[in-house]
Homo-oligomer: 331 residues x 2
DNA sequence: GGCACAATGGAAACCGCTTTCCAAGGGGGA
DNA sequence: TCCCCCTTGGAAAGCGGTTTCCATTGTGCC
């Protein structure tokens, strides 16, 4: 590959001058030389070696994003938001998918840290295991000690800037809205108990029901994805009139399960989700959910990560209950 | 950040030895020193600086993948397939989204090339503009001249390894299948005319109809995304009995448009798509489509890119027509 | 016991670029 | 006209690793 030295030689200038012309610098270079360098670079098809630049400058122009599952619209939206924000700053994005394995998440932080990325974004729920979280914290701390920046979308458990959706509050508000429709027998497709997001939403929902003096909902655990919702829906008690899936993809799975079983939604059972992923608009019946501004959250997380803050800032993001056809008024 | 030199000092060995212990080498290091180095690295929390490694080794462990839109399930599936394949090889992935701007695609190739990524994957349709394609080819050629590898999912227009879905053949077969159901008046939600994938599918479909002696379909151009399908569906002539959207997300948009307009699918109009994106299973009515093994294609493209081939290899991928409820037999 | 050779450790060159530090040239003010 | 300061170009020292090339030591064999 053609190097800066080749360009400098061809232009008959020093390495320093070539560097100043081509790769940005505070220093001025005379018009004549500048033109010669640019022409030489063009003729030779020079492309700066970013690895070398990164090494010399001590900081690169790439950021890392770690998500659980890129094919899940929730993560896709978050990642897209972050990537758009990154693009406006001239940053490249390295994406890692953990496929929901917390160990993978730690490994990615280590790898991204080794890459000396400018910032890493951890997108997605934490797990309840303090041991795992501890190791992740350690890895992050080491990375940040070396000047790295980090932010997280999810729970404020890592000691870094965090965009934290109000999972409990959102779920509670949803519960009140559904109860307001006359429902009393609920089930929660609760996801995995150790997933903090899932647990929070479940707890928020159940807590609100309790405050209203309603019976405790049936808790149906399962995976946090579409198939998890599909499968969990089939374990719901027959007397339940309203099912809350702790995220939209699970709710979509549940809708499918009901459709297959010939159970009508919302006539026979009401269904609600959480997140308001964009693809919901194409599902029938339209799904009641709690809207989260996913793209903005992703973008915001990147901003936070890049900002020069002293102490980690935690930003709460409220969810907004959106009632749609998948729930009906009872009685 | 702690450097290899710190580790070497702490362990009381040379830089060379430390490097050999920690970052892999053909050379053996005695057990005693090896242990000392490992302990030192562990105590200090050493993480190799990949930028430096990349520079010294002349090749990094990152691949680049450029997609049009990561929130589109089609690209998400392809990217996920490629990322899984990359992970098994210990490669990291840098993702760029062009948001369907061909210039962005060229820019990303330049940037990734500057990053000295091991390989770049261009995922998604080419555009018909020979000028743009030419510039992209140039950029790719330069990258490959420097030892970079490249592959493409889409049309074989770039002179690189290509995984090429059989768009024309798939669409043609779909047309025959639909005609076999008794339809004669077709419309094609054709996407943008300059998008080769869209144009090929459209041409394949229309060509098959012509061979069957059926009237030419109504061609309705528009954007290649869900909203494009939604909008295009409303411009379809009333006498059309069967609508082919050149990709699934457009078909999903069309289904939504019909639902909103009170047009029943398939009773009033049949609808078919292309790709068989995984999310289809949750739409009603279930969409007839042409199945493409998206994840495999992504993985395969990565393999091709990494393989040591002399001449670019082009691999055709056949599509399989999948008839589902969204189409009905006529008469 | 002596020698060739394999195994192992270290010094130093190098990867490609940035940036400090100098040197030299040029312009403006006194 | 002289001096000082501001510009501009270049030499060279890193950035943090890898790897070649030696030097040294230990081993097997005659």
């Amino acid at each position: 590959m053609v190097t800066l030295e080749d360009v400098a030689k061809q232009a008959g200038v020093s390495l320093a001058t070539a560097s100043r012309v081509l790769n940005g610098s505070t220093r001025q270079v005379g018009a004549a030389l500048r033109a010669r360098v640019e022409q030489a670079a063009d003729e030779l098809g020079y492309r700066a070696n970013i690895a070398a630049q990164t090494l010399a400058r001590g900081a690169g122009n790439v950021i890392g994003i770690v998500v659980h599952d890129l094919t899940d619209p929730y993560f896709a939206a978050l990642a897209d938001g972050a990537m758009r924000a990154a693009a406006t700053q001239g940053l490249l994005v390295m994406v890692g998918t953990t496929h929901r394995d917390p160990e993978q998440e730690i490994a990615y932080v280590a790898t991204l840290s080794a890459q000396r990325v400018r910032a890493v974004l951890l997108v997605g729920s934490r797990v309840a295991d303090p041991q795992v979280t501890g190791r992740l914290r350690d890895e992050l701390a080491r990375y940040r000690a070396g000047g790295g920046r980090a932010a997280c979308v999810g729970q404020d458990l890592l000691g870094v800037d965090t965009v934290a959706p109000a999972n409990r509050a959102g779920a509670a508000e949803l519960a009140r809205a559904l109860a307001g429709l006359g429902h009393t027998r609920f089930a929660v497709l609760a996801g995995p108990p150790h997933l903090v997001t899932a647990a929070d939403r479940c707890a928020g929902f159940a807590g609100a029901l309790e405050e209203l003096g309603l019976p405790a909902p049936q808790i149906v655990p399962g995976p946090f994805d579409r198939d998890g919702g599909h499968e969990a829906a089939r374990r719901v008690d027959p007397d339940v009139t309203c099912v809350f899936a702790v995220n939209d993809v699970m709710a979509v799975g549940a809708l499918a399960a009901y459709r297959e079983a010939g159970v009508r939604v919302p006539e026979d059972v009401s269904v609600a989700g959480f997140d308001d992923i964009v693809t919901l608009r194409d599902h029938v019946p339209a799904l009641t959910t709690v809207r989260l501004p996913l793209k903005d959250m992703g973008a915001r997380a990147l901003e936070l990560a890049l900002a020069e803050d002293v102490a980690p800032v935690v930003e709460q993001v409220a969810g907004e209950v959106v009632l749609r056809e998948s729930v009906r008024r009872l009685g």
